[in-house]
């Protein structure tokens, strides 16, 4: 090993000019891999087809239970008053709601987002990586969900458990509310941990973490996809406002919003027909069901798919070019050093030690060559967007493959070549 270490250090330090092309090449390799990974990361979300399955049939709908011109906020207030309570529109809506709720293939899910301000959170420091940087005040996203949301969004509990009926009935302020966290939180918390969550209007409450979602989860809202890996999911009962809940129950636990989201697990069901069937029996009201069929997403996906293809192709070409360039440099170096290696062998040093020393040298250069990429990313974005291990995972094979020609040249080094003056 003395020789390996000594020779590696010697070759690295002795001729800095010779390692510069190698280093530049490796930096380019890393940069190419980094750019590819970063772009891929950005485009990846478009591939999550959560609103239509493989046959492109809509599964999620938005159903309008109130007239179009009532503002969403007002409507939710209106439903809580006797005035709307008495309208026939309300009665029809209620019937449709009942009908849909009784259908075993139809599930209502919630569309209700909020945020927890970071200042109010006890472990604000720990949660810093999960804040939404676009918000004026740093906050953690909260989604209020019922038992059907995860099904509709096609996300899975990968650790812990899903919400059960007890979680949705838990109004006792002494018992922590159950929460499920997005996958990113797994680095900070584990199932069973208790955290303090804070709502701007209702104050603090303690919450027990019962589970984590899969990585790369998304939800749809306002025709956009949102990555929910850094979201907190609370049961709809939170914030646990006793007064509000009493009122809600008084109103037969009906909608709080004019829109309701519906998920259907049987693609043959025509939701609009079903709704029309009820409404035509009860007057001239039409309740509109709009399919969240992902048309818009599909278009973005097409573009994204093309982009991924282009970037993938470029990355592949880039990878091949990097590999070829690197192998060429290393090959030339090996040919140039053939005599040297033969002399090493003449002095009794086995081939594997020579190859090990070369590999070690290249690996050290590789480690050095990662730094400019890390530096640039941190300078540009404030953090490394692509995990380091992913860069290494892709660049290392390029470097290993590039070493193969060198090993082949070295394999043919022997004392005979020296003795018979076949190389000088």
């Amino acid at each position: 090993m003395k020789f390996v270490i000594n020779n590696t250090i010697k070759s690295l330090l002795q001729n800095p000019r010779r390692i510069i092309p190698l280093l530049i090449n490796m930096v380019l390799c890393n940069a190419a891999v980094f750019i590819f990974l970063q772009n891929y990361e950005c485009l990846k979300y478009s591939f999550d087809s959560i609103y239509y399955d493989k046959t492109d049939i809509a599964r999620c709908y938005s159903v309008e239970f109130a007239e179009e011109d009532i503002d969403s906020f007002e409507s939710s207030m209106a439903f809580n008053t006797d005035i709307v309570n008495r309208t026939s529109m309300y009665e029809v809506g209620k019937r449709v709601y009942k009908e849909l709720e009784d259908n075993p293939h139809i599930f209502f899910y919630e569309q209700c987002s909020s945020g927890i301000l970071l200042d109010d959170i006890e472990d604000g420091g720990k949660l810093l990586p999960f804040i939404d940087e676009e918000q004026p005040q740093p906050e953690i996203h909260v989604e209020y969900v019922n038992e059907n949301n995860f099904k509709a969004w096609n996300v899975k509990i990968v650790e812990g458990r899903d919400f059960n009926s007890d979680d949705f009935d838990n109004l006792d302020m002494n018992v922590p509310v159950s929460v499920i966290l997005g996958n990113e939180f797994k680095t900070v918390y584990k199932v069973g941990d208790t955290i303090n969550i804070h709502d701007e209007y209702y104050g603090d409450d303690s919450a027990e973490i019962i589970g984590f979602l899969n990585e790369g989860a998304y939800l749809e809202a306002y025709n956009q996809l949102y990555s929910i890996d850094n979201y907190i999911f609370c049961p709809v009962i939170f914030p646990r406002d006793k007064e509000g809940i009493d009122k809600y129950e008084e109103l037969d636990g009906l909608f709080l919003d004019k829109h309701r989201r519906v998920y259907i697990d049987d693609p043959t069901i025509d939701l609009q027909a079903l709704v029309n069937e009820v409404t035509t029996k009860n007057g001239f009201y039409t309740l509109v069901c709009s399919a969240l069929d992902g048309t818009e997403k599909r278009e973005t996906e097409d573009v994204a798919r093309r982009n991924v293809f282009i970037i993938g192709t470029l990355a592949l070409i880039g990878g091949v070019i990097c590999t070829l360039a690197l192998s060429a440099i290393l090959y030339n170096r090996a040919v140039r050093n053939r005599t040297k290696y033969c002399i090493f062998m003449c002095a009794g040093i086995p081939l594997w030690k020579i190859n090990l020393s070369i590999t070690l040298e290249i690996l050290i250069l590789f480690v050095v060559s990662v730094f400019p990429v890390i530096g640039l990313s941190i300078y540009e974005y404030g953090r490394l967007y692509v995990p380091l291990w992913q860069i290494i995972l892709l660049t290392l094979p390029i470097i290993m493959v590039s070493l193969i020609p060198t090993f082949m040249v070295n394999r043919n080094c022997n004392l005979d070549l020296l003795i018979r003056n076949k190389i000088v």
Binding site: K2, F3, N6, Q14, N15, T339, K340, C342, I343, F344, M345, C346, A347, G348, I349, P350, L351, W352, N414, L415, D416, L418, I419, R420, N421, V424
Partner: protein, 219 residues
């Protein structure tokens, strides 16, 4: 006891359909401390013989016993481990590494020993002193004369104190004057440290300075 013994060694090379027999039923032995010259016409198999002795090549048939043990070479790595710290090699064209200093070139011969850094330094200094090149310690080979280069190469070959030193035309690229110098160094080493030398040479004068000569016939 003989240091090495060759018993009916044969070697031939096949090029396409033509088979050239280079060595046929060669037998000889070399005692410890001998200084042997191997002579013969060009192409008679001197280098081939040296290759077999060094474990670089292997005979088609026959036995090669070195220091009482049969030498069996199946692949290049066997040859390297056989040579390691047993056999030093000196070549006509010196085979020095140009971006290593004289010191570092000689030190190469010690990497496969268990010597510590200070032991290595001591041994290399000692050898340089013996060869009269201590003043060239930090020079690079391309600045040296032929004779100086060959001394460095000898230094590398003998620094690990091998039992046998093989030299292929060690004076082949040197002028008459330097040739004498080198041969007297070899004689000196042979006498004082009882290292065995086998020297391939065309040169009558070099052969005359050896204790014994083996002349190969072209087949």
């Amino acid at each position: 006891m003989a240091l090495l013994e060759l018993d009916n060694i044969s070697k031939s090379y096949k090029t396409g359909t033509v088979t050239t027999t280079v060595l046929k039923d060669l037998c000889f032995s070399v005692e410890k401390g001998e200084l042997v010259a191997v002579m013969g016409k060009s192409g008679c198999g001197k280098t081939t013989l040296l290759n077999i002795l060094a474990g670089v090549d292997y005979p088609d048939s026959g036995r090669y016993v070195f220091n009482g043990k049969d030498v069996v070479i199946k692949k290049a790595a066997d040859g390297i481990s056989f040579r390691r710290n047993r056999i030093g090699v000196i070549l006509q064209h010196f085979a020095l590494i140009n971006d290593f200093t004289v010191y570092e070139n000689i030190e190469l011969g010690l990497w496969e020993t268990n010597d510590t850094k200070s032991e290595r330094r001591k041994k290399v200094d000692e050898v340089m002193d013996r060869l009269g090149i201590l003043n060239l310690k930090n020079q690079y080979p391309d600045k040296l004369s032929g004779g100086e280069k060959q001394r460095v190469a000898i230094g590398r070959a003998i620094v690990c104190n091998p039992m046998l030193v093989l030299a292929d035309e060690p004076t082949g690229s040197l002028d008459n004057e330097t040739e004498k110098e080198i041969i007297s160094i070899i004689r000196d080493l042979n006498k004082k440290s009882e290292m065995t030398f086998i020297i391939v040479t065309h040169d009558e004068e070099v052969a005359a300075s050896c204790n014994r000569r083996i002349v190969l016939q072209k087949l």
